[in-house]
């Protein structure tokens, strides 16, 4: 099926929604982590499946191996979030999340899942608050560990041809931590996003 991308006005509105959401997210994250979180300006793209790997590589400038967590969200908006961590900096946030000094494999995985859940929730709740929509979430799970960035998604196994892709990256001030959040909303979910943005614009 063919999906029209958002119009320029819709894109501008979505960008604005994301900017507001980022402000709220940064604020909430700072309260949870007791640390200043630097958030990038969100980027919005419409990608075809053939472009997905190169777009991820463009958004996530990381040459080494990465670990990636996925989490689904559904209700008024629907899609899947990918959180990509480079291998540094995980230990660095362990104490921020209330973990003991020494992390075994399970504790490291749980930390990544906890942090991912918080990062996804912070942004998407900012979005839903602004748009006046509701969301539910599935439990996050680890989709790739110590894998090259261009191998975390296998385009042949992706069941969509077009998707909206939103990217934000986070870093912690004075700490060696950085991660990237990619939100995919594919096919019909783009229409739901379009409708939510239109309703938001009309509410003014």
């Amino acid at each position: 099926m063919s999906i029209a991308p958002l119009t320029e006005d819709q894109r501008d509105a979505l960008q604005e929604v994301l900017n507001i959401a980022m402000g709220q997210a940064g604020n909430s994250l700072a309260r949870i982590l007791d640390a200043f979180v630097e958030l990038s300006v969100p980027r919005i793209r419409f990608v075809e499946v053939s472009m997905v790997t190169s777009t991820i590589e463009e958004f996530v400038p990381c040459s080494g191996e990465v670990t990636a967590v996925r989490q689904a969200f559904f209700d008024d908006l629907r899609g899947e979030a990918l959180i990509i961590f480079d291998q540094n900096g995980c230990q660095d946030i362990a104490d921020l999340m209330g973990y003991d000094d020494h992390l075994d494999v399970q504790a490291q995985q749980e930390l990544l899942l906890d942090v991912s859940n918080v990062l996804v929730g912070a942004i998407l709740n900012g979005v839903t608050n602004t748009l006046g929509t509701h969301l539910s979430y599935s439990a996050p799970s680890i989709m790739a560990e110590r894998t090259l960035l261009n191998q975390i998604i296998t385009p042949e196994n992706v069941p969509w041809t077009h998707s909206a892709l939103l990217e934000v990256n986070y870093s912690l001030k004075d700490r060696d931590f950085r991660s990237h959040l990619l939100l995919f909303m594919a096919e019909e979910a783009i229409e739901a996003l379009r409708k939510a943005v239109d309703d938001f614009v009309e509410s003014f």
Binding site: S28, G98, Q106, L113, D114, N117, G121, Y137
Partner: protein
Amino acid sequence: MDSHAATTPLLNFIVDRVNIGIFVINKEMDIILWNHFMETYSGTSAEEALGQNLFKQFPELPSAWLKRKINSVFILKNFAFTSWEQRPYLFKFPHNRPVTGGVDSMRQNCTFLPVIDEKNNEEYVCVTLLDVTDTSIYQNRLEETKQQLAEASNRDGLTGIHNRRYLEDSILKEFARATRYKEALSFIILDIDHFKHVNDDLGHLAGDEVLRRVAEILSATVRDTDILARYGGEEFGIVCPSTRLEGAMMLAERVRTSIATTLILYDEKPVPITISLGVAQFNNDIDSYEKLINQADTALYQSKEKGRNCATYYIKDD
């Protein structure tokens, strides 16, 4: 009829009796709902739990981590989760499989749900606790089976020692390590002398028995750090990590002597068995593990030339 009024007792009944742990806490971490599942497994009744501080009532809970988790739900008004795969349980509860379990306590997946009571302007966190002990047991069995399969695919069916595939994997790994850390590495290849005669004169069953006995003697003679495998036919290989040529030659000589001096019987009759060995040491000229095997092979050939039942090490012929 007011459907709301009619369904409320139903909902209360279901929340209490559903086979899922459900409890609710307020911002002070006081328990304000504690369902039947929680009562049954914790041994703490709703009467005892309600109004109590969660961490005072259950001091065994991982408080630093859990407080952060619950706070993140209050602050973000967001879901949070725990999975048994990373954290086996939140509360240490008994499970319902005392006979068929194999795990010590109930495995739990938990969801932390933000609850907002708009009428009273109060916020809560509802925690649901799902018993996933069954899933975890099947998952563990699957992992065990996968490990057994991996192990089986590395074993030689006849002798039970490692097979050629495993040997090549090991030598590749050890080769990479020796190259990176400039460590010593030696390789021994050995071959049963006149094995064809055993098969021709006594039959293949005798040949199989000899191979099994040789494998046993070799296993008992090599050091713990050596990697022994059946290389193919009547050939065996020994990877010797952190071992120089002199050490490898000593091991080769010890192995040769054990085989030559151990009585091997077939059908209650002794079968005289000797072996020939070739030894090679990794050095900077060797740029692939195949080359190391080839050099040991060349030395083995020289042992055969010299009249068998001996060990020879590789010398560069230039």
